[in-house]
Subunit: 355 residues, 2 copies
Amino acid sequence: MKLMQKTIDGIRPLDEGTMDKAKKRMDSLIKPIGSLGRLEEFAVQIAGITGNVNNTFEKKCTIVMAADNGICEEGVSSAPQSLTAVQSINFTKGIAAISVLSKHAGADIAVVDIGIKGELADSKVISRKVSYGTKNMVKEPAMTREQAIKAVETGIEIASDLIDSGCKLLGTGEMGIGNTSTSSAMLMVLTGAKADEVVGKGAGLTEEDFEKKKRAIEKAISINNPQKDDVIDVLAKVGGLDIAGLAGCYLAAAEKKVPIVIDGFISVMAALTAYKLNPLARDYMIPSHCSDEPGYKKASQALGLESVLNLHMRLGEGTGCPLMFNIIEASQAVMANMATFDEAALENDYLVDIR
Amino acid sequence: MKLMQKTIDGIRPLDEGTMDKAKKRMDSLIKPIGSLGRLEEFAVQIAGITGNVNNTFEKKCTIVMAADNGICEEGVSSAPQSLTAVQSINFTKGIAAISVLSKHAGADIAVVDIGIKGELADSKVISRKVSYGTKNMVKEPAMTREQAIKAVETGIEIASDLIDSGCKLLGTGEMGIGNTSTSSAMLMVLTGAKADEVVGKGAGLTEEDFEKKKRAIEKAISINNPQKDDVIDVLAKVGGLDIAGLAGCYLAAAEKKVPIVIDGFISVMAALTAYKLNPLARDYMIPSHCSDEPGYKKASQALGLESVLNLHMRLGEGTGCPLMFNIIEASQAVMANMATFDEAALENDYLVDIR
């Protein structure tokens, strides 16, 4: 609790002075002002985050929080619960989507067992288990308040360790069968949205199971009665350990002044959780793709951030992050390597004849 | 004329057999089917283009067609016309946005003087001038029909040469003060759109000059009376040499089975021109960003392609292409490097205890 509160309280606004310098530099480059749009905005935002006009990201990492969800008992997912464990290990073997896309981007992944139901033998998954999955929120709160806070603090520690070891850019991903149900439940409580607006079919539910999923989520909310103005209460009662862990990552990144990229629906719900704990945390976040999970857009609007990549992806794992890392690095290349009008004019003797 | 017609006639449909194989492989990878959205679709499309399930793009290049437009006499642009020449040279010096972003993507650029008004002394710009800019289309046709075809054929030759020298992925960019006016004029003729719907303020016109721009474009259309069913007539009368050259690039890429990326408004108008010459050409195109130029969306809809990057860029030069190259290469990494369910199952003995 002390670590969480200390981290929340330690988040400062972006460095306006450096942002002014970055904006001035960007406006002096040989292009119409603003014509590179958000590429310019990301470079200026990152200057405000780090306090440096120029930034490079040799070391960058997507943190993948893996956890199981008790609501799977209700048959809300088409995939077996064991897939949470299996895929978490696959991530570390370099054979899953997040592994392949991260390697393509020159980025690392840190896969964290923050609450998988079962023991993982001999793997590169980082073991930071808060519990063996959550309880079935249709019958009782998913977690105790203490567990939720412990998971947030675990995320703070994981992100802080990565930053301390030289990581300059973070991404957020997850693996957890049933976590579109927890994300939908949190979104419904926090925004008042209805199940029909935000619940999706996940990896491929039948119509019947889809209806069951919506009713289960509604029941979880009604029996637990989470208090929407107390986001930790919402997180504990109808959230998940993965969401809590990622919320901690966002808080730590903001407190330690490191840009952090949002992936899809679960990731953006964790971002919204961090934002509710301290709205300043949002200034350190960068969106990536617009997930096809129906809740994503609503959550993204609640957070007030507009996605960049329109790829109709709905996988999770953090797969939007390495794609976005490349665009963020492109924005830094523009800042560092384009010439200013003054610099270009110095060489401007090559035009012989403008008729 | 012969080269253009031969190229148009030589375009074949995508290779369905290879696309089936690629789709099958994609569906066997360890993720829910379709969950990587358009990343999967691009990989399958490219398999259909090249006839190979796996593709790599060591050599990739954005072709930047540079040309001047006679309509600049009417004061339709806030920038001096000489900027076409100055920026074209800056591109080759590695200091402009397209140069920096291409270097970031490990890609080349080929800057082509297809109609700059003036001689460029001693530069790396490829000299393939069809004329010293076009005529003022508010007073007479921008080009003769022969000039338009010659410019298309120049584009075919440039793209073909690059492909013959090993280039496996192409992008399309341009530099030409006044070319949002020509693009708007062509779009209005081809789709029946009104000036108020598609004409933008370019790099930063005053309200007064913006009105002047719209009226000039309308006048160019009314005095030249281009025939909408004859896209070469439209191109010649109210288009530009850059658009014509890029249209040729799209045709050559399709004929030679190489994927080609669309940039912004001018680039998509060239794509639409190629599509009107042979609708099959579209299957070889891949969109990149959604330009903030108001005509882009309308042109993109007319072409039937949905953009990928939402960055509010409006620079041109081809700047969307290197950003998209990275995403295309990510789609290839997925195809080549993810494991199938069968492969992953072979190692599936690491789960000790699912409680």
